[in-house]
């Protein structure tokens, strides 16, 4: 009896999570009328999109690039940056993230397509032709985060560095970074 109720509740929860994710997705970056929004990013794409609707990213990408940190949405860097990152995986910020050639090429293709939509234009302000390896080095990013004191970041066990976008931006994995949707762990909502 108890089991059955739990199961029903579980399904209901799952269903609402999925529904919510689809809804959220429509509101996020993917809503801009670009290629990414049309799911046109490679033949292996979204085969089991239901299962991965929560992030709405290429499942292979989430698997391979989301195990050590959140899977950074492709729109956060220009194509040239992704290309550099993908060519240097054996020394990836001091870590070994090497992949077999087939997987690497599939991901490269995905990233190059999904990032060329540039649906988050303002992130690339004042970037010119540079292709930094880090999102956290983009001039606009630096500008947006330079007022946050380091005791909220480096000295905060639940954040540790600005690279952990999802520590503060609740919907980071879906590509949403609204200023009024920020909660710094142990500190609270951010208003300024």
């Amino acid at each position: 009896m108890k089991h059955k109720t739990m199961m029903i509740m579980g399904y209901a929860l799952l269903a609402s999570v999925l529904t919510f994710s689809f809804y959220g997705m429509g509101q996020s970056l993917a809503s801009s009328n670009d290629k990414y929004g049309e799911h046109d990013t490679g033949e292996m794409e979204y085969e089991d999109s239901k299962q991965h609707a929560a992030t709405k990213q290429y499942p292979l990408y989430v698997d391979e690039c989301g195990s050590c940190h959140m899977a950074y949405p492709a729109q956060l860097l220009p194509p040239a940056s992704w290309q550099k990152i993908m060519r240097g995986l054996d020394d990836h910020f001091g870590e070994n993230a090497e992949l077999d050639t087939t997987t690497r090429q599939a991901l490269e293709k995905y990233l190059s397509k999904a990032s060329s939509s540039r649906s988050y234009q303002k992130l690339f302000r004042n970037l010119g032709n540079q292709a930094p390896l880090r999102i956290t080095e983009l001039p606009y990013f630096v500008h947006e985060h330079d007022e946050i004191p380091s005791r909220f970041i480096q000295a905060n066990d639940k954040v540790s560095s600005l690279s952990q976008c999802n520590a503060c931006h609740q919907n980071a994995e879906r590509g949403q970074f609204d200023e009024d949707d920020v909660t710094i762990p142990g500190v609270g909502r951010w208003d300024d």
Binding site: C68, H69, F93, N96, E98, S163, Q164
Partner: protein, 130 residues
């Protein structure tokens, strides 16, 4: 005359039914692969020792934590890593490609070299016994 398919259907059903139930308890199938590659005896103590050894302040436990039955935490990014012990996490060691990918990366990063087939078999046996 039609061939009698009943035995093969029965076999198929048996295989389907036994598959997932088995995977969760038995030692990982992947050990079979190591056996085929020439490992005829595993040394569980050596597996344990490799797991806890420290080279240049790096150890498997830097990310996987001291207790393999508990979740770990990536040493640099802080991202949670699910338990490695099979008893605590039945999803462990189910995919040959995944196992080999991480052994390659993590042995290189942690120990500064690749692990041999023997060492991988030892570690896998130890983790599965936890």
């Amino acid at each position: 005359m039609k061939p009698d398919l009943t035995p093969s259907i029965c076999l198929l059903i048996a295989v389907v039914l036994s598959g997932p139930a088995r995977a969760a308890q038995d030692p990982p199938r992947h050990l079979q692969t190591y056996r085929q590659q020439g490992v005829d005896q595993v040394d569980i103590q050596n597996g344990r020792q490799l797991w806890y050894s420290t080279v240049n302040q790096r150890s498997c436990t830097s990310c996987h934590g001291d207790n393999p039955a508990k979740a770990g935490k990536h040493v640099k990014t802080g991202k949670a890593i699910q338990p490695m012990a099979l008893s605590a996490n039945a999803e462990r060691f189910q995919d040959a490609k995944k196992i080999e990918k991480w052994f390659l990366r993590n042995c290189k990063w942690t120990l500064g070299r690749e692990c041999s087939t023997q060492e991988k078999a030892d570690i896998l046996t130890w983790l599965s016994s936890q």
